[in-house]
């Protein structure tokens, strides 16, 4: 497991390490199988276009999973994800990289836990935030 981050290491304005993902049509098929979401807009181009979409698009829930990975990578084994919110404002298509990013908004000890609130989002290579969200985590305290 990677190096553990502690509550004391974190202050508002700190950035989470960026996670780059390179979704492919193959990944969309794997995700369809693993999640049981077989809606054709995610793997049938003709069907997607007949539904007014530019191409097959990433499952929103796959982008949610990418942002989950951003946060669980950052908080490490000793951190706990308490809340994760995502909004699918823009579509993303396979074959183009997406970048998962985050910034710490608040950090406070509550009931003996190091609680940290972050904005998280997924942006495309043009820097457009297609998937804004937020996360609340607890991090271990060094002093314990």
């Amino acid at each position: 497991m990677s190096d553990q981050i502690y509550f004391e290491d974190v202050r508002p304005g700190a950035e989470l390490p960026t996670l780059r993902k390179d979704p492919t049509t193959q990944q969309l098929v794997m995700y369809a199988g693993a999640s049981g979401d077989f809606y054709q807009i995610h793997y049938d181009q003709g069907f997607a276009q007949a539904n007014g979409l530019p191409d097959v698009i990433l499952h929103g829930a796959l982008k949610n999973a990418f942002l989950g990975q951003l946060v669980t990578d950052w908080i490490g084994e000793m951190g706990t994800l308490k809340r994760l919110t995502v909004q699918y404002r823009g579509m993303d298509v396979p074959g183009a990289p997406v970048f998962c990013k985050g910034i710490v908004k608040k950090a406070a000890v509550q009931d003996g836990q190091g609680v940290v609130e972050c904005d998280v989002w997924l942006e495309n290579s043009e820097g457009r935030k297609t998937t804004p969200g937020s996360a609340v985590v607890s991090l271990p305290l060094r002093s314990r």
Binding site: M1, K21, Q27, M30, Y31, G33, A34, S35, G36, D37, Y39, I41, Q49, A50, N51, G52, H59, G60, A61, L62, N64, A65, F66, G68, Q69, V71, T72, D73, E77, M78, T80, L81, K82, R83, L84, T85, V86, Q87, Y88, G133
Partner: protein, 155 residues
């Protein structure tokens, strides 16, 4: 302004729970889900490494619970649109999900409303999904926004 497409049947479905579905969580399903999302975290994929963690074994990644498909609604209603999109989710986590857990999933609609947008008139359906483990502990909640719309002619 166009007439509302929200029917008394839709309003009547608010607050009514779906037929519960109970699913046993398989370790292989967790690992395949982690592989599908491209997440190599050993907590989700490597039993030996995960055993040395504070969890004592593999746990499911945060959005794994999406793979439990909800049962049918107990109150049916028609949506006059043929296409839908996922608008987003808000998850709250209370308890890790582990292989061997038996998770009971129910969904209830908490709100229905409509809005105009780039896809024309859109029907928003807010659903709250509950995931309760075999000990009766609420493991997670997911509030999801579903968006229903009618595709417009490209020509």
């Amino acid at each position: 302004m166009a007439d509302s497409i929200i029917t008394p049947e839709m309003r009547g479905a608010i607050g009514v729970e779906s037929v519960p579905v109970t699913q046993e969580i398989e370790k292989g399903a967790i690992i395949r889900f982690a592989q599908a999302i491209g997440d190599p975290n050993p907590l989700f994929t490597d039993e030996a490494a995960a055993r040395r963690s504070r969890y004592g074994g593999i746990i499911a990644p945060p959005t794994f619970l999406r793979s439990i498909i909800a049962g049918p609604p107990t109150v049916e209603f028609d949506i006059p649109y043929s296409a839908n999109l996922d608008g987003g989710s808000e998850w709250e986590y209370f308890e890790p999900v582990r292989p061997g857990d038996r998770i009971t999933h129910t969904v209830r609609i908490t709100d229905v409303f409509e809005r105009q947008g780039r896809l024309g008139n859109m029907l928003f359906v807010i659903r709250e999904g509950r995931y309760v483990n075999q000990f009766g502990t609420l493991a997670a909640l997911e509030r999801n926004t579903g968006i229903n719309y009618e595709p417009q002619d490209a020509g």
